[in-house]
Symmetry: C2
Subunit: 258 residues, 2 copies
């Protein structure tokens, strides 16, 4: 009933390691009931219960320091703490879910394409990573309901759009330098606009709005990764301008003068 276990026996019995037990002793989290004159640690059945508490709380994500407080204060004000801990865990879960979504999108594109351009890859990841910030930022430019609608697409739809966009961006990068007025380039822009229309619900006004707001974006404190280099962007800008002019959108040509 009041058996004594050596540290090795105790470790085996409880599924922990000897090293961990010594560590718990060191930080005063769980001290053996008895220490022999020669310094050997001996644990009792009572210590098993204590260790179980520690393991359970560790599973819930508490640090050993917090656990120490709980067990020492002996006053389990769990309720609040558990609720708080749950919030923490829910946040971690959401983070991981975003990561998984990003991985899925990237994998999906690679299956379709076999490979992926590194800068496209980066901006893809970044889009998902910054989802919330982007949302808030867009809300400053276009109506909130539209923004929510944008992000409220089904997972499949998002996958598809991302893939189409990635393929298109790849083609565009290959086309850089070609005559912006050529049918090929204008065709790509057309495709891009088709996707944009698909997402935005089809009015060119939004695009106009976005263009008008460009000026402010220039010196954004934190820099958004664009999949294009400055040279590529200049070329793209030209092609875009031509496209929009042909469609009758007014472009207030503000040259990027610092």
């Amino acid at each position: 009933m009041d058996e004594k276990y050596s540290i090795g026996e105790f470790a085996k019995k409880t599924g922990t390691t000897i090293r961990a037990l010594r560590y718990y002793d060191e930080i005063h989290l769980l001290k053996p009931t008895l220490v022999s004159p020669s310094g050997r640690r001996y644990y009792s059945n009572n210590d098993i219960i204590q260790l179980q508490k520690i393991v359970a709380l560790k599973f819930l994500g508490y640090s050993l320091e917090k656990i120490s407080e709980f067990l020492h204060l002996k006053d389990w004000d769990l309720k609040d703490s558990l609720a708080f801990q749950k919030q923490e865990m829910v946040q971690r879960k959401e983070h991981i879910e975003r990561v998984i979504r990003a991985l899925d999108h990237a994998l999906h594109i690679m299956e379709d394409q076999g490979t992926i351009n590194s800068s496209i890859f980066i901006s893809l990841i970044n889009n998902i990573q910054m989802e919330d910030e982007h949302k808030e930022w867009l809300k400053g430019l276009i109506p909130e309901s539209t923004v929510e609608g944008l992000y409220d697409l089904s997972e499949e739809k998002q996958q598809e759009l991302n893939t189409r966009t990635a393929i298109l961006l790849t083609k565009m990068k290959e086309a850089v330098g070609k005559n912006p007025e050529s049918d090929e380039v204008q065709g790509l822009i057309q495709q891009y606009m088709d996707i944009a229309e698909d997402v935005l619900g089809g009015s060119l006004e939004l695009i106009q709005d976005l263009l008008d707001s460009q000026v402010e974006i220039e010196d954004d404190p934190v820099l958004f990764p664009s999949p294009f280099t400055p040279e590529e962007e200049e070329w793209l800008g030209k092609a875009m301008e031509i496209y929009l002019k042909r469609k009758g959108v007014v472009f207030n040509g503000d040259e990027t003068s610092k």
Copy 2:
């Protein structure tokens, strides 16, 4: 176009910290394009792209060492790596989900009860933590289909059962020492069996099976936490025996010798 940024400017522009940039320099992950004779670091636009790659890969959960490999080998064998990384993340997610479930159950009980006995709390957590191991273990004792059915209850149902069980266990702990043959104690056992029937689908045979297998559990290498102390268990065993005898179940009275 080929601007140079001091470390401070660069940090602000990219949303990292100065310390992080110095650390990346130290571990040869991202070295500034130019270092002045006095030792000051100056970064270029090219470094921005590198840093974006680093940030993106970090978001996906890669260690800086792995990232270093990727960027140095220049040979993005992402496909496999991404798939592997996804597996990792899915596992982490599952872990967190178990933790959240455990927290939910505990919170649910506390809302109902206002408090919770620490040993009941521990065994509750442990049940969820060990879910998979318990499953496997039970499959050795009762038919696999029954086991799967057991764990396939809805979240709500599980909550409810856990709460009822916890309340009952609390009452039982309070009743320890009372006459096992009294109506009160036998009533509690009856309630316990009601819950068991609810879960197991109502045959006493399973309980018989479980009782028969008790012998083997005794010296399980890794010790399962039970919410009862040995004394409490002994008392419970008696009450249980009386209950089952009255119901006509044969109990092969194997005294816990050794």
